[in-house]
Amino acid sequence: MKFIIVTLAIALVAFGVQLVLPWWSLALVAFLIGFVSNLSGWAALAAGFLGSGSVWALYAFLLNSGNDSLLAHKMAALFGVPSSALLMVAISALIAALLGGFAAAGGRNLKQLVASK
């Protein structure tokens, strides 16, 4: 339950913050929420991964469906990857997921470090 709440919190706050701040602001969000989360290290990593990744995945998926995959296919061709909009969604989301996951774990582990001193 706690894991789901933290994941959702990361997703929601990261969504709001990225409407105004650059893409990497999602790392700050994940880091801070990871810091206050009380999850285990691996769980924080997973929450950051899923929370951040899902925001990008869902938003990209939504924009893509309004566009009938027109641009996603062109971008796939530009990057020389198979012509699949879902693959482009997955590649995009992976960036956010990795960044969010590492940041959340870093935040959570910072708290452990601070708490132990």
Binding site: W23, W24, W56, L63, G66, L70, L71, I91, F102, L113
Partner: protein, 808 residues
């Protein structure tokens, strides 16, 4: 341990964030900033537009005085209804930027020699060429000159303000896609950028000549062969001004100096091999006495490079002073080719030689010799920013002729003589007023008044009015020349070889309501030898003969005829050559593969239809023939020579079949024209059968020529439209080859309620992520048209998909 547990993920997060926030070089690949580019909040996903317009219906813009209604029709063409001209041109700037900002920004950077800023050192040669040709210098002259005219100043200022209002509204997410991939930002627009765009077009259409190549030919082969290969006036031309049209004005003789031609071998950096035969255009108008409605018909299709985003942007512009519809150039106010309720106009390129080269005798670093005296050199220091490398500072000398393009600093290819360029594009002019005037023209007089502002690049302006006039004038600032002046590089140390003034505009080649009942142009010679002034240039011979044949029938013409003619695939050069080839090729000993090609040609009607195999076979033979016949001139780039045109080649082969140049030097016997035709036929037939075997399909013409509408950045192949199923070729009315073609096709019927049809190979939007990016391409390829929606006031019906109101 806990410290490491903190450090490792935090470090990884930081590395990831930093690495993906900027450009990455992996091996020889340069990746754009992947984080911002793939983010659905700021990246390319934001450019993935839905087909339905989802814009704000009510937009506040500080720069407007009144309220402006913009209606987007089914094809998303904007129809602008403004209450005054200030608001009208403001909105033209705003709406053009909304659809085409990246394109107009990119083209003007290109024109001013700033591509290295985006692509690094590989852009440097191109940038230096454009700068040394003085394109930016010309744009500066024009921008300063335009300030003297309150009307064009107002139009440009308002257009600029509109573009900049749009730029100010952009966020990271709404930035055009190309900026995101190439990782740079738009710059504010200015009047200078508009003049840069106009000079880019001037360079495209008049910024080339064959002075170097002709000089080299003269020095290598002498005058007789030079005239044979590159004649000023070959036999059989069908000029724009009908033969027999009187020229009723006196012409004073010019001081003609004794002929001297610069010695040496001159090879220019812009050398692009054989002449650009694929640039050109058609236009014509048919008098009401010869149409089914009794009112004139006008057609115009400019042939340019086929690019996305398209060079044209369709618009209707309405204010109390104007209601005009047509093709605009992104970056320039007004409609360039179009119509209003009373009149229509179109353009083709004049091809008149308005660029001459002069040898400069440097006396010292800052003086050169002229008429026995010293003249000062002005220096211009151009700093070129180069991505990933240090700035490059180019030093450009300026003489009274113009810039010294080639000197010890740039691209002499062994020639040590500095060469200065005299080019009418450098002269201050205000072409914008021409389009401002044409947009409002009602009568033939209005048309002439508007044309008088037009200097460069020379164009054939065709005109038709509801009142019943048809006309054509070759308009531009054309130097008066003594015979052959400027065909070759001239001596710049004396004023003997300089231009002695310009042809008055009312003496430019022109005709109004000729007895034959039609006017037309297709880049051919403007006039025959009865025209009182000498001129030379770069001309076409095939399309003009075809269109005049089509328009010369004794019948009433319809709109459908005009559309058919613009899409006509008949090749005069094939008609000139194929029977000659068949006469000369010995068909007795042909193998089955050769026999197949023989039969194709025998049964061919000379139409380059999309599916024609005969066209492919002929093209292969023709290309081979041109290489074989002119082997003495090759390699062109090393010798600095030009291939004669196909038209002249066929004439020389027929008139001088045993000329020494006919011999193919790599073979032992001495060949004549018939041998060339035999060799070309056999080699072409082999090429045909090889292509078939290698590709495993029939060599249909469209497959072989591969017409591609390519994104302006060659690297963006994913944003291009390759392999378009269509016929046509250079020298054919449907002038679609692999890379060039009709960039806008328009037909106007000047009835009581003006009717018009048009299409271009692109779409309203410049965004590769938009449905409207290339929405018209298939219609264009099929030779079909859209009815153009000419509104008198805003309407509420199914023709409009979205209405926006802009106000303060």
């Amino acid at each position: 341990m806990k410290f490491i547990k903190f450090l490792v993920p935090t470090f990884l997060a930081l590395v990831l964030a930093f690495a993906l926030n900027g450009e990455l070089t992996i091996g020889d690949k340069n990746l754009p900033p992947m984080g911002p580019l793939l983010s659905p909040f700021t990246g390319f996903w934001q450019n993935a537009e839905s087909k339905e317009i989802t814009w704000n219906p009510d937009v506040k813009l500080d720069g407007l005085a009144g309220s402006v209604t913009v209606q987007y029709d089914a094809r998303r063409v904007p129809h602008v209804f403004a209450q005054n001209d200030e608001d009208l041109y403001y909105m033209q700037g705003y709406l053009t930027a909304q659809d085409r900002l990246w394109e107009m920004d990119f083209i003007t950077r290109y024109a001013s020699g700033r591509i290295s800023e985006l692509v690094g050192e590989r852009g440097l040669k191109l940038d230096r060429t454009n700068r040394r040709m003085g394109i930016a210098y010309a744009a500066e002259q024009a921008a300063a000159h335009i300030n003297d005219n309150p009307t064009s100043k107002m139009v440009l200022e308002r257009y600029t303000a509109g573009v900049n209002a749009y730029i100010a509204s952009l966020s990271d997410g709404s930035l055009p896609l190309e900026y995101k991939i190439m990782n740079y930002k738009p710059e504010l627009w200015s009047a200078y950028k508009t003049t840069l765009l106009l000079k880019y077009m001037a360079n495209n259409l008049s910024g080339w000549d064959k002075d170097f190549e002709y000089t080299n030919a003269y020095n290598l082969f002498g005058k007789e062969i030079t005239d044979l290969l590159y004649p000023d006036r070959p036999a059989g031309i069908d000029p724009i001004i009908p033969v027999g049209t009187p020229y009723n004005f006196p012409v004073e003789a010019l001081d003609t100096p004794k002929y001297t031609i610069a010695k040496g071998v001159f090879i220019s950096s812009e050398f692009d091999g054989p002449i650009r035969e694929n640039l050109g255009s058609n236009n014509w108008a048919v008098s009401g006495s010869r149409t089914n409605t009794g009112f004139p018909l006008l057609a115009s299709d400019p042939h340019l490079g086929l690019n996305l985003p398209s060079i044209w942007y369709e618009m209707q512009l309405t204010s109390p002073s104007v209601n005009v519809y047509g093709a605009t150039l992104p970056g320039s106010p007004c409609v360039i080719i179009g119509f209003n309720a009373d009149a229509a106009w179109g353009v083709t390129n004049a091809g008149m030689d308005v660029r001459d080269w002069y040898t400069i005798k440097l006396l010292s670093n800052d003086k050169y010799l002229h008429d026995g005296a010293e003249k000062p050199i002005e220096y211009r220091y151009d700093t070129i920013r180069v991505k990933g490398a240090a700035d490059f500072i180019d030093t450009i000398r300026f003489t009274h002729f113009g810039p010294v393009v080639y000197d010890e600093r740039f691209d002499q290819n062994g020639n040590t003589t500095p060469l200065a360029l005299r080019w009418t594009a450098h002269d201050a002019s205000d072409e914008l007023m021409t389009f401002y005037g044409l947009n409002r023209a009602k009568t033939h007089d209005d048309y002439l008044k508007a044309l008088n502002y037009y200097y460069c690049p020379g164009q054939n302006f065709v005109f038709a009015s509801h009142a019943g006039d048809i006309a054509i004038r070759q308009q531009g600032h054309f130097p008066k020349k003594w015979p052959e002046q400027g065909r070759f590089i001239m001596d710049g140390s004396t004023s003997d070889f300089e231009w002695q003034g310009f042809i008055p505009f009312d003496q430019n080649p022109q005709v109004k309501n000729p007895p034959r009942g039609w006017v037309s142009s297709a880049n051919q010679h403007p006039a025959d030898s009865t025209y009182p002034y000498y001129f030379c240039g770069y001309y076409e011979y095939d399309r003009s003969r075809r269109i005049n044949e089509l328009l010369g029938e004794d019948r009433k013409y319809t709109v459908e005829d005009m559309k058919q003619f613009q899409n006509d695939n008949y090749a005069y050069y094939a008609k000139d050559l194929v029977p000659f080839l068949m006469e000369n090729v010995n068909d007795l000993n042909l193998n089955p593969g050769q026999k197949e090609v023989w039969e194709l040609l025998k049964n061919w009607d000379y139409n380059y239809t999309a599916d024609s195999r005969a066209a492919t076979a002929f093209e292969m033979i023709y290309d081979t023939l041109m290489v074989l016949v002119w082997d003495e001139l090759q390699p062109y780039d090393e010798k600095g020579l030009d291939a004669p045109t196909g038209y002249v080649t066929i004439q020389v082969m027929k008139a001088h079949p045993e000329h020494a140049l006919m011999d193919y030097k790599d073979t032992r016997p001495i060949e004549d024209a018939a041998d060339m035709l035999n060799m070309a036929f056999l080699a072409g037939a082999e090429k045909y059968q090889d292509w078939k075997a290698n590709n495993g399909k029939e060599p249909e013409w469209w497959q072989y020529k591969n017409t591609t509408v390519a994104h302006l950045v060659p690297f963006f192949k994913a944003f291009s439209r390759p392999m378009i199923h269509m016929g046509g070729n250079r020298h054919i009315l449907n002038a679609t080859d692999g890379t060039h073609g009709a960039s806008w096709r328009m037909v106007v019927s000047l009835e009581d309620e003006v009717k018009a049809w048009g299409v271009y190979p692109g779409g309203a939007s410049g965004n590769p992520g938009s449905y409207y990016y290339d929405a018209y391409v298939d219609t264009w390829a099929a030779g079909e048209y859209y009815g153009l929606l000419f509104l008198k006031a805003p309407v509420q019906n199914e023709t409009i998909q979205f209405t926006q109101t802009f106000s303060k």
